[in-house]
Symmetry: C2
Subunit: 317 residues, 2 copies
């Protein structure tokens, strides 16, 4: 028979969502899979929900926040690297020369990542991220980056967990970067953060102490087709619920959709230039084009930020 409605589900869920198709799709899905005895029931161990991070759980404009971190690190490290004054792409960063930085392309970006994300222990890196989050401010909103998370999505995360889901981040961002704030910001512990990674090496120091050192070599890019691969590698179970915001999430959504039983596939569509940003098919950051076409064709949920979200960011602390 039909299971009793759990007490927690009786409180009005998702208060920062306006009533509409998107909210209804989310709440209906959770109802469908959490009642024992109903055809779509999914046991708790299999209630795997995955979320992209940049543009899905927190903002990503005018540039990925991790890139802002890397550029700030170049500036902070510059006194120890006098050669950067004349060496690209570092010169461009130090001079704020956007054109030269863009001209350095992906190769330049990898050099910046190598200089700022490698050559230190995992603990030392985590500390630079924590220090940066405590001091850096977003250029438009003048708030710490980890306060520019989406209140409606925090409510989705919490509500899924209250209904027995296990929530994971599956993001192209660096796993060691995200783990610094994911637990306190999203309630997602380090072991439930899947992301891109560099090679890490185990060493025993001269003092006999073991350490893990980050090396300047990309190991895994958790984006596009890498997302289902990362899900398989880290989670080992196909999600029943997936949320993204760009073409980099398309394969993750396809993989989620291809499982049996009830499925939820969602995209955050950035339509709100006033409260946040408006961008999609032609954006350099968070391009949403093919995935939007597929979402429309397959009736996946497309969140219209302007229309569906009562609030965007949490109130300042």
């Amino acid at each position: 028979g039909m299971g009793a409605v759990p007490v927690r589900a009786q409180a009005e869920p998702l208060p920062s969502w306006n009533d509409g198709d998107a909210k209804k799709a989310i709440t209906d899905f959770v109802e469908r899979v959490t009642h024992e005895g109903i055809a779509n029931y999914v046991k708790p161990a299999e209630r795997i929900a995955v979320f992209d991070n940049d543009g899905t759980l927190w903002a990503e404009q005018p540039a990925y926040f991790q890139l802002a971190f890397a550029l700030d690190r170049v500036k902070a490290m510059a006194p120890q690297h006098p050669e950067w004054k004349t060496k690209q792409p570092f010169k461009a960063v130090l001079e704020g020369d956007q054109r030269a930085l863009a001209a350095a392309g992906e190769k330049g970006l990898l050099q910046i990542v190598a200089a700022t994300h490698a050559g230190m222990t995992t603990e030392a890196f985590a500390k630079t991220v924590a220090d940066w989050l405590a001091t850096a401010r977003h250029p438009r909103f003048n708030r710490p980056y980890d306060q520019l998370v989406y209140q409606p999505m925090l409510e989705v995360l919490a509500w899924l967990r209250a209904n027995g889901f296990k929530t994971f981040i599956v993001s192209g961002g660096g796993v060691e970067f995200m783990r610094v704030f994911a637990e306190r910001t999203y309630g997602i512990p380090p072991e439930q953060v899947v992301g891109s990674s560099g090679v890490v090496k185990f060493q025993i120091g001269k003092d006999g102490k073991p350490s893990l050192t980050k090396e300047a070599k990309v190991e895994f890019i958790d984006d596009g087709p890498g997302k289902p691969v990362g899900i398989n590698r880290f989670i080992g179970r196909r999600p029943i619920f997936a949320f993204g915001n760009s073409d980099g999430d398309q394969q993750m959504l396809q993989y989620t959709a291809a499982g049996e039983g009830a499925r939820f596939m969602g995209l955050v569509h950035h339509t709100d230039a006033e409260r946040e940003f408006a961008y999609d098919r032609k954006s350099h950051v968070g391009k949403l084009d093919k995935a939007l076409d597929e979402a429309i064709a397959r009736k996946w949920t497309v969140v219209d930020m302007k229309k569906d979200w009562r609030t965007v960011f949490p109130a300042p602390k």
Copy 2:
């Protein structure tokens, strides 16, 4: 002040362990870290416990069980591969020629792994493992391999979880192999299994369906120094409790030991030829030599299987 002793801890833990130093070390450690207000208290989110699998949670003699699986697969697949009758290392497997198989060395082993663990979807592979576990029998005990798990270690896993720990496997075995039985056998869900892996590729088939295909290329070896690297990659938090049985666990134990606060490092020493097997410093499988020296020198817990375990395997089902 001292927190109340939780009700669950009042039941006699670890009934399959004889009273002695090993049992006391485990129970004392759990007591020390689970009482709020005491110096060694560790909050639940940080109670990470890691376990090697082969030789620590289940047996590994006379050969790793995953190797037995691979050899059985070669035999099962032979009708579709007539060329194997004359091609090493397959010829050796089909003829049961141990000497020729040994002579094929690591290269031969990789060929066998490639032939039996790749060229299929992750789901198809999982099915071959499940089918094998349901039908294959251990040569000495004539029991399904997944019944040759250590009852005392099942009790440690369950007791840690009852005390708020999150239990992980961190094994040199294949992650896709272990995930088939880890949840039902150990209560460890797929997302808490860390292991060696091959490259997996995302593809959209002609029917429009996405799939993940296992390729014949090693991606990660979760053994020796790879274990702390795997822990960092998959868990992202240093364990406070680690159990292994061989030199392949030494770095995992060192990494665990190097954290601050209370730590537990344990080794299963196979001393019981009558009920299981006796081997250590000179064994080809599960060699325990340097890690044993370090364990003795640093007073890590060394379990003497013969002396410390009241029972070895669970009663046949």
